[in-house]
Symmetry: C2
Subunit: 334 residues, 2 copies
């Protein structure tokens, strides 16, 4: 923490100076609202709130990293629709003792990420708090004329794919990850995506959002799940398996998506971008395998109650055995 | 506080059920982003973050009132540009012990206000916190084909006007105020507004934002400032004057605006809406009256330093004497 005291209006003026001019911004920082030129008939909008000790820890993360992460989380939501980001408004509740230097670094982190993804910072709100630092980024975007890719379009027979490698993000990657906007745009432009989302809570949980919304099931091939080096390092410390970390850690901000088999084959042959893409399984009809009770979240399934879920996922182990892929607490069931 | 524990996904499903369908929402709650139909070539966007013990106090305010206020503050920003609200995304950091009942009431308050102003709640983000409740509303709007009204358009010779009555809002009005969106739209459609903003920090501070942005000064007629009944009640308790409360309390969310003399005369004759409008002064060239050092904020003017401010305001007392209208700490200088 620096030593210079923080003055709200000084900070706003500093942010105004640091923010590059942009023709898409008709009214920027400093009025009651910003005014942004629309780029099509509709706008994507998302909002993400990050809280100290929940989504980052200022005892370990720098304010600049926190700023990057706050912007990047929202960019990842736009990417998950196959969209491109346009303009952001940022709100911060700054704790007592947060210095001007800290605030400048926080804003620099926001602007680092905004610059990388051609995003205009157009406005915001600053307040104090007796609690932890809270930062909220609301982000506008559009789909560049393409239909947005929803969670609800997965179909039985689809291939299930993921970008990058999963697990162990909390060792540090969650503070500096690069959201997959370029990849999402290419996927949406060049391939017939059926469903997509970004992995924030972990593959095991987030896959179920696609399955629920699409009313389908899935088989995930355990041996194909791309396991990050961080997941292996985390496993050495935790005593759990690297696969366990890859399925459950979350904060990966990789894209999880489905498309038909032929398109998936073409994608894997063409490799239209450097980021790895891995096929990890298939979409199925709703899973009702013999003897296996496919899982809803624990909170929805009181002990001992038999459910007939709309959807579910099975994890196919290397020996061919199948187990339910629980949407939470996976590490306790395998 | 209620007793039912809060489950994030249950709450999201509850919100989905409570949110009316709307043709302007192409994708609503439940995906990575919302998709909203644009109503014109550009979009207004604003964000407001409210924190417990700073902007409200849950020991006195109900969660439903907090929800109303959170939405209404953002509507007031849209109103201050002469715009109309369209779609909101809401983020909440919920403290430990915040029950499902509390959360439902908070959302009901948001939806109460959204319903009043024809706003679609299209998405959001929920997290926990060890700190106080934080709620952020980011709001999209547009100007219905009219130019937006900025803070920077005030001209010397303009009349300075305000809606409603000021002061004492913290006695309760700040939790249930009705943002002046309808009034702002009528003003923007039917009169040639030069500058406008909403009063959140108090007339004495907020007027200076218009003056700074427009590089003009102002004379405010003390006897014409509309003083609310709340300001009089607050003055009985504080020992300060009702005028002092009207100038400095803030949280009024009334519109402060300027237009040429002829338009102001027509507005005051026509009274196009029920909400009172009062002329409280005039815009001048930059104020440099003899012997009076017009004020910048205290933090910008070290003791004893002579400044040549870009702008400034004078308060014209009933006896004709003029005093600087300080942008903060007004009560300590008069």
């Amino acid at each position: 923490m620096g030593s210079e005291p923080l003055r709200e209006f000084d900070l706003i003026r500093w942010i105004q100076r640091e923010t590059p001019a942009d023709g898409r911004v008709l009214i920027g920082i400093g009025d009651d609202c910003a005014l942004v030129a629309n780029r099509g008939p509709s706008s994507l909008i998302t909002t993400d709130m990050l809280v100290d000790r929940v989504h980052f820890d200022l005892r370990e993360a720098t304010p600049r990293q926190v700023g990057w992460k706050a912007m990047a989380c929202s960019v990842s939501d736009i990417a998950a629709m196959g969209g491109r980001s346009l303009a952001a408004v940022v709100s911060c509740a700054l704790p007592r003792g947060f210095s001007a230097d800290d605030a400048h670094e926080l804003v620099r982190g926001l602007l680092d990420c905004a610059g990388e993804f051609d995003i205009c910072l157009v406005g915001g709100d600053l307040t104090g708090t007796d609690g932890p630092l809270v930062i909220n980024v609301a982000l506008l975007g559009d789909t560049g004329g393409r239909p947005p890719v929803r969670r609800s379009g997965a179909r039985p027979g689809d291939a299930l794919l993921v970008t990058g490698a999963l697990g162990g993000s909390l060792l540090g990657r969650h503070l500096c990850f690069r959201p997959r906007q370029a990849e999402g745009l290419i996927l949406n432009e060049q391939y017939a995506l059926h469903a997509m989302m970004d992995i924030s809570d972990g593959l095991a949980i987030d896959l179920h959002h696609i399955l629920d919304e699409s009313s389908v099931g899935a088989r995930v091939w355990a041996a194909q799940v791309p396991i990050s080096e961080d997941a292996r390092r985390a496993a050495e410390r935790s005593g759990r398996s690297p696969l366990d970390h890859a399925l459950g850690d979350g904060e990966d901000y990789e894209l999880l998506f489905t498309m038909d088999e032929a398109s998936a084959g073409r994608l894997l042959a063409e490799r239209p971008f450097e980021t790895p893409v891995t096929r990890i399984g298939s979409i199925t009809e709703t899973v009702r395998s013999a003897g296996l009770s496919p899982c809803r979240a624990f909170e929805e399934r009181p002990e001992g109650r038999t459910t007939n879920p709309r959807s579910g996922a099975l994890l196919v182990l290397p020996d061919g055995a199948e187990r339910p892929l629980e949407r939470k607490g996976w590490e306790h069931t395998v």
